[in-house]
């Protein structure tokens, strides 16, 4: 079976900085792939490349067997790859329902159908009580759910989540983790950038680690967590040989 996502040799530089270097990944249909690495490792740049917001210098991205390099973000969304933003971007003056409806309209051009689908998705993410609330007035945790709902409404097969746990307290994080698990269980593959290690370990089937734009390690969560190169990347060389707890 063809992988849902196949990335090979993806590279992008900005002036003197090589932000992403020869990145190669692949993802199966239902899996959750965690993408971790220190700040500045190139994770969000990778997301921008995958979702069409940036063009790669070279490399290939295949989504469901089809090359998506050079396609615009909206075209890529229509193919089934949808991304969220690290700093959430709700439509502040629109209601929660209208926000999510924009996402739904991409699949359901008729306003009533889109509205119906939007309501469903909003209930799914647990924002049902805030349907007509202006998005600008939501709490951060609620905005994250909104961002998720909007993306879900586009009926993606692959969802790119960019630090969706950032800024949330432990209770909120637990709730979002549960939500992401439910989403994945419903058949959506997820590529997840995350700094919260517990969340990543709990959610991911596999983890890939980036450092200085390169993938340094990839594998099962526990194997990755104990990998010396990962420890070196995050904590520095001295810790590689520190006794584990």
């Amino acid at each position: 079976m063809t992988p849902l996502l196949e990335v090979s040799g993806l590279s992008r530089r900005f002036g003197g900085l090589q932000a992403v270097r020869e990145l190669s990944l692949s993802m199966a249909r239902d899996e959750v792939l965690g993408l971790i690495g220190p700040n500045g490792a190139g994770k969000t740049t990778a997301f921008n490349l995958l979702s069409g917001f940036l063009a790669p210098d070279h490399g290939q991205i295949r989504f469901d067997g089809r090359s998506i390099v050079g396609l615009s973000p909206h075209a890529i969304c229509h193919l089934g790859l949808c991304r969220t933003f690290q700093i959430v971007r709700p439509f502040p003056r629109l209601s929660v329902l209208d926000n999510v409806r924009v996402g739904a309209l991409s699949r359901r051009p008729r306003m009533e159908d889109a509205r119906h689908r939007a309501r469903e998705v909003i209930e799914q993410v647990g924002l049902g009580g805030k349907m007509d609330h202006p998005a600008g007035g939501l709490t951060l945790a609620e905005r994250k759910r909104l961002e998720l709902a909007r993306a879900l409404a586009t009926e993606p097969r692959l969802l790119l989540l960019d630090e969706v746990m950032a800024g949330l307290n432990p209770t909120e994080i637990e709730a979002i983790v549960a939500l992401v698990k439910r989403i994945n269980a419903s058949g959506v593959a997820i590529l997840l950038i995350e700094h919260n290690m517990r969340a990543v370990m709990s959610l991911s089937h596999r983890i890939a680690v980036l450092n200085f734009g390169e993938k340094i390690v990839e594998g099962e969560p526990t194997a990755v967590a104990n990998h010396p190169r990962v420890i070196e990347a995050y904590l520095g060389e001295e810790y590689v040989h520190a006794p584990s707890r």
Partner: protein, 316 residues
């Protein structure tokens, strides 16, 4: 709300029977500028792309229809469509350049102003269309030539135009097109990520808006009978177009109409009381102050504020 609208419409339809010719003229301007403002509303209010050069489209439509009527004998009833199409062509160019090259905010405003000014200067220097002296249409009063003896017919035509534009905007608002435009105004990048082809929808808004504005140009030509490049392409006209939706409520269906009902009488009153000559700029000072006040205190315009006031007692 519906019965209120119907009642208002009935009143407007009946008014000419009781109004003086002067009052009818005032209403004609209210309706006409509301029409232009409504057309602008599509791209400036809903899509959030501030154009300060919409006069260019009025001018193109006006000159096109006038020239076709005088040189070729084409009735302006068809000429207005031609004018609209030509204006839409210009709109396509401006929109394409602006949106393809990623011009937003201040840069886009400048682009639209630059295009309008270029049109103005070209018209000023082209003797074939009258140059600086302007282009004049002979009055024949022939309805086939979009000219009417009775002021009141113009009243109904202007009212009709305003209603058509409003219907177009209402239709847009109800559909996906409108929902997308509003979202684009809020955050373009987020829209792209959600599958919205922002370029296509902005272009569509620009084309519809400029087409309607061009049609309005024909009315302008055959109501005023003289086309002066400085008047018909100039910044003052663009200001008149923009200020009504802004004050009344950009991105709402009734905003431009409300704005016109507020501003046209204001302009007329200041013109009457302060006379001509050096004082003719007074109404523009009022415009400036109103614009500032709206931005500071009522950024969404008068209509949304009124709607909130209306809703509050009902909600309790």
């Amino acid at each position: 709300m519906k019965w209120l609208g119907a009642a208002a419409l009935a009143v407007l339809l009946a008014l000419p029977a009781v109004l003086s010719s002067y009052a009818v003229t005032v209403f004609i301007f209210i309706f006409f500028y509301a029409f232009l403002g409504q057309a602008w509303n599509i791209v400036g209010g809903y899509a959030g792309q501030l154009s300060a050069g919409h006069a260019a489209f009025v001018g193109v439509g006006a000159y096109a229809a006038a020239l076709l009527s005088a040189q070729v004998g084409l009735t302006p009833w068809i000429g207005m469509l031609v004018g609209g199409v030509l204006a839409a062509a210009l709109g396509t160019v401006v929109g394409y350049l602006g949106f393809r090259f990623g011009l937003r905010g201040f840069y886009f405003v400048l682009l639209t102003v630059a295009f309008a000014e270029v049109c103005r200067i070209v018209a000023l220097n082209t003797d074939a269309v009258g140059g600086a002296l302007g282009y004049y249409i002979t009055f024949t009063g022939n309805p086939r030539q979009f000219q009417f003896q009775d002021n009141r017919v113009y009243y109904y035509v202007a009212l009709g135009l305003m209603l058509v534009a409003t219907a177009v905007v209402a239709a847009i608002e109800r559909r996906r097109f409108g929902a997308y435009l509003i979202a684009i105004r809020e955050d373009e990048s987020a829209c792209e990520a959600l599958g919205v082809n922002t370029f296509r929808y902005k272009m569509l808004a620009m084309v519809v808006s400029s087409f309607l504005t061009g049609v309005g140009g024909t009315f302008y030509a055959f109501y005023l009978f003289s086309l002066q490049p400085n008047a018909v392409f100039g910044i003052p006209l663009s200001v008149e177009i923009v200020i009504r939706p802004i004050v009344g409520g950009a991105g709402t269906v009734l905003g431009p109409i409300l704005g016109s009902f507020i501003l046209s009488p204001l302009a007329e009153a200041s013109r009457v009381y302060f006379g001509q000559g050096g004082w003719s700029g007074v109404h523009l000072i009022a415009y400036g102050i109103l614009l500032i006040a709206v931005v500071l205190f009522l950024p969404q315009g008068a209509y949304p504020a009124l709607r909130r006031l209306w809703a509050r007692p009902a909600a309790r």
